[in-house]
Subunit: 116 residues, 4 copies
């Protein structure tokens, strides 16, 4: 993990304990909440062109930031509940992706690895 | 940010550059990819009971870890593209949540803040 | 298709034309909107137990109905834009599922077809 | 409802009964499954431009059709389990949308109703 993520993890544990919310925080429920927040994040982009999405107004940027935060907060709670280190998992997946998407085959194409 | 997230950010930038993938990485597309991965994460829980979701097998745990990784990797790429610091955003959101969900009102209930 | 779906399709086409909204209705955008609405639908269940989800209050039922409607409306617009008949697609998929999930192997288990 | 949707509903009930799957089909779980399939639908579009999404190959169109089918099948099962008529819900929502998005205010803009 990292200090910042561990801090957030501790704060989130405290936050949930104070409100007697652990009863609602099964991994199943946390995974659902994460998808719901990811959808709220996408909602800000759904009618924008790709070009517009590259030049958001300050207000839009702030709104998107709040959804990013929600996704990260649930990701931390979910991984904490399951004893998963998200940083280690991400490192391992990036290594795996290097093998699934060798530069010679993947360059310039958005094809999925099983279509290369 | 944190060192680990910054490292992953740099590796992801390099990964995309090597494969000439920045053309596909508009914030709009990255937000879509994030939701898709969040869905793949949820898929591991969709037929499980909340109880079962608290006691996953090692294989299930590993599979879930891979999806957690995918979500985090897209979150890093998305925030990097938009100049958002996910840790700062999360800290700010947690503070806001303390106000939206005061302990006296929120304790023991899963009601949304506008229903308290 | 069916008459009701065709009626809704026509009404939706008229609705979008009146508001000069076809510019926003690429299949890519409609697919995004559909996921966003599906997330709003799931949000109503995220903190409920499976048992509670089987006995919703009239208010909750109405709110869920509104999200179901949103999902269906985008499904109709998406399939209309791509010349897909959702009923025919569903019939074909149900036939395929009978083969992917033979009763003898699938009975009583929630395993995915590639795990049977 | 419509005859076709009622037929599919009956077939799905039979399908689940034969496999002893009703135990997994709480509305909570069905809503999760619906989101997961909506994500698989979006996955086909995530790296495409809006333009490309308007001119899909026959193979892509068929793959998208299969995901559309999955979404519709879960929508039918979910509404059936909750006693909701999806067609009636859609009709009611379309009427409500006419009020939320009056042509004079909504024409040519993708702003949400609370931003008009």
């Amino acid at each position: 993990m990292t200090d910042s993520l561990r801090d957030l993890d501790r704060q989130l544990e405290r936050f949930a304990k104070d409100r007697d919310w652990q009863q609602f925080h099964s991994p199943k429920n946390l995974a659902s909440a994460l998808v719901v927040e990811a959808g709220e994040l996408l909602e800000h982009f759904q009618w924008l062109t790709e070009e517009q999405s590259r030049t958001l107004s300050p207000e839009k940027l702030e709104a998107v930031g709040a959804e990013v935060a929600d996704v990260l907060l649930y990701l931390i709670q979910l991984t904490s509940a399951m004893g998963i280190d998200p940083i280690e998992a991400a490192r391992a997946k990036l290594k795996l992706n290097e093998m699934k998407y060798p530069v010679e085959l993947a360059r310039g194409t958005s094809k999925k690895y099983d279509e290369l």
